[in-house]
């Protein structure tokens, strides 16, 4: 069986999705990144392999998400694609007539505007993380409940209180204030969900037209209270795809399938055995010019596999040929 693998390494979670030749989802994995993207990818690979029959052949692999370059080196990606594009591609695959894609993940939230099957505009939260999954996570932690419980209890609210959602810091102090005034936890929680939605519409959408059908994906789409708040606020039904949490990985797999079919080359996939290899990451300050860029390096058995982070491309060019020069300017 020929398959295509998409790997989406986000700030909070790591997602893998495997598609077959007719782009159907064969298996997927969803796990926490926990600040260790390399280990998360390796664990994801192990879990995917466990779910698969022996005769599986990887026809192509693509990485996406904020650790896409790092993950790309580890798996030997044929394609490295940003998460805005992969999410849009996946949404369009399942809902060809979609006009608006709302995507809320751990650290960022995006809006993608689609017309006639083409992405025409997108927006992403800029200087503030209010209105993202981490915002909810943090509040759940503070109130000593799981994120699942937060969602369920918020749904039982009947008279939600208004929470200032401009910024996580203000929201938190406002929540404490409302709590000390004697409002019920349920009402405060739903108020928080509404604040997150208002923040998303105000800070990310910035007056862009939100037209139906709307697809809502990303980890936060697990939260039923947020979905209800969206429905109330924009008065349009939002569709949550069945595999909304792995849409980025699915999009990456779709794109690499398309690419490999066009180029007819063999995949550079480094194999499932990569999940056992020890990688070493480090960083140093380049002294070649006054910029003093921080350069990150990933190596295996003392050989640098890739480097990035400099303002010029001195380090990004193949490390082996540049090694001599590189060692001198460290």
């Amino acid at each position: 069986m020929k398959t295509y693998l998409g790997v989406d390494v986000g700030s909070v979670t790591t997602k893998l999705a495997l598609l077959n030749e007719s782009d159907e989802l064969v298996s997927h994995v969803y796990l926490l990144t926990q600040g260790k993207p390399i280990e998360a990818v390796q664990q994801g690979l192990r879990e995917i392999r466990r779910q698969l029959p022996e005769d599986v052949d990887i026809g192509g692999v693509a990485t996406t998400g904020s650790a896409r370059y790092l993950a790309g080196v580890i798996v030997g990606a044929d394609l490295v694609k940003n998460e805005i594009t992969t999410h849009a591609v996946a949404a369009l695959h399942y809902y060809p007539d979609v006009q608006t894609i709302i995507e809320i993940g751990g650290q960022d939230s995006k809006l993608t505007v689609v017309r006639d099957g083409i992405v025409i505009d997108f927006a992403m939260n800029t200087v503030c993380a209010a209105g993202t999954g981490s915002f909810l996570d943090h509040q759940a932690l503070r109130l000593d409940m799981s994120i699942q419980e937060l969602s369920q209890r918020a749904l039982t609210s009947r008279t939600p209180v208004r929470i200032a959602g401009r910024c996580t810091v203000f929201a938190e102090s406002d929540m404490v204030h409302k709590q000390q005034m004697g409002h019920s936890v349920e009402d405060i929680l739903y108020g928080l969900c509404q604040a997150l939605v208002r923040n998303y519409l105000g800070n990310v959408c910035l007056g862009k037209e939100i037209a139906a059908p709307i697809v809502f994906q990303g980890g936060v789409a697990f939260n039923q209270a947020i979905i209800r708040a969206f429905r109330e606020e924009i008065d349009i039904e939002v569709i949550v795809p069945p595999h909304h949490e792995v849409m980025g990985a699915i999009g990456a797999a779709l794109l690499v399938h398309e690419d490999m079919a066009a180029s007819k080359t063999a995949s550079q996939f480094r194999g499932f055995d990569q999940s056992e290899v020890k990688y070493h990451t480090s960083s140093f300050e380049c002294k070649a010019c006054p910029n003093h860029c921080e350069v990150a390096e990933i190596s295996q058995d003392g050989h640098a596999l890739a480097r990035w982070g400099g303002r010029c491309d001195m380090w990004e060019r193949v490390p082996t040929t540049q090694l001599q020069l590189s060692e001198e300017s460290k």
């Binding site: 694609k81 083409i118 997108f122």
Partner: protein, 365 residues
């Protein structure tokens, strides 16, 4: 008196030429780097924009090198930029530097005021010498801009990535070192030749993206994440709205005589924005309207907290002339990784849009 000036792109090259020709005692601070930004941010009010912080960093570094007179080219305009030199001077004095900051703005001093300052700084050189020094400076500026335009064209189609950037760095150094018109002419011919011999992909048909916005972040790549190079890496041909020579001519020579090079852009913006709102907000809107047919997309650079550009950002979606616009806020707190993700997605969007347009055309034919 030891003169210095804050950086803005390659502005130091012509200024050095002028200082050299007039025998002025001067220092050029180190090119913009992380230390400049850290110093500038540490002593700036948090809510101010990145041009203020970067230039303050330059000023502190100049002061460390013994400068006591700082020249700041730029007008007073409508936005708070007009107060910047006064605030910066105050901050420098509070830090214990005995320093004078002179704003070379033509809008309030009138032309004669500028001439006075120039006369003073140049140790009372005869006007003939001053004029010839300025002419030579302008020649260097024009050369830089001609090289930059060629670089923008070749960078997206070069076969080996990074070749053009290396030639560009060498070219700027050579222009900086040229002492007379003959050398300058030779340098220009030489680097034109080098650039035109870079192996390129003949089949490539690069997307064309305009870059517009506030002039400082537009002209100072360090403050705006090297956006031109990054777009070039993604195979995009960049058309920048303002070049340093155009800006200099506008600020020093044309404005006082009432000639406004930008009137064409401003006229284009008029249906959506009737007046100057400070900074380059008016021009940003105009750029979109004027070039909608010619460009595939527009990248709009704005310093974080810049009022004029925020107004422009909010007007742009409603113009009838419709091309995708990506607004990027420039600030010391914003990580480059996030900006690159947006740029990649933006280029994907433009590419897919073009592909679908081509497909449609094929169907109708």
């Amino acid at each position: 008196m030891r003169v210095s000036l804050p950086h803005m792109g390659n502005l130091y090259v012509p200024c050095r030429a002028v200082f050299e020709q007039l025998g002025v005692d001067y220092v050029i601070p180190p090119v913009n780097n992380q230390r400049t930004l850290s110093l500038g941010s540490r002593y700036s009010p948090e809510g101010l924009c990145i041009p203020f912080k970067m230039t303050l960093g330059n000023m502190i570094e100049s002061a460390e090198m013994g400068a006591n007179t700082l020249l700041v080219p730029g007008g007073y305009g409508i936005c708070r930029l007009g107060y910047y030199t006064r605030v910066q001077e105050q901050i420098l004095q509070n830090l214990g530097y005995d320093i004078e900051v002179i704003q070379l703005g033509v809008s309030d001093r009138k032309f004669l005021g500028i001439l006075d300052i120039i006369k003073r700084i140049s140790n009372d050189s005869p006007w003939r010498r001053i004029l010839s020094a300025f002419r030579f400076g302008m020649a260097k500026l024009n050369t830089i801009d001609q090289i930059e335009r060629t670089v923008q064209k070749i960078r997206p189609v070069e076969l080996v990535q990074g070749t053009v950037n290396q030639i560009y760095t060498r070219a700027i150094n050579a222009i900086d070192n040229a002492d007379d018109y003959d050398t300058l002419k030779r340098v220009r011919a030489d680097y034109y030749e080098q650039l035109n011999q870079v192996p390129i992909n003949q089949q490539a048909n690069p997307l064309i993206v305009g870059v517009t916005g506030e002039f400082y972040v537009l002209l100072e790549p360090f403050s705006s994440f090297d956006i031109e190079r990054e777009l070039g890496k993604l195979g995009v041909e960049v058309r920048r709205a303002t070049f340093i020579s155009g800006w200099t001519k506008f600020t020093f020579f044309l404005n006082p005589f009432g000639i406004n090079e930008k009137s064409r852009i401003q006229k284009a913006a008029r249906p959506y924005l009737k007046r100057d709102i400070g900074g380059d907000g008016w021009e940003s809107v105009g750029e979109k309207v004027l070039h909608a047919k010619e460009y595939d997309g527009l990248v709009h650079l704005a310093p974080f907290t810049c009022m004029p550009e925020i107004i422009a950002e909010n007007i742009m979606p409603s113009t009838k002339e419709n091309i995708p616009v990506l607004t990027i806020l420039c600030d010391e707190q914003i990580a480059k990784a996030g900006v690159l993700t947006r740029l990649e997605a933006f280029v994907d969007l433009l590419e897919r849009k073009r592909r679908s347009r081509n497909n449609k055309q094929r169907v109708t034919v």
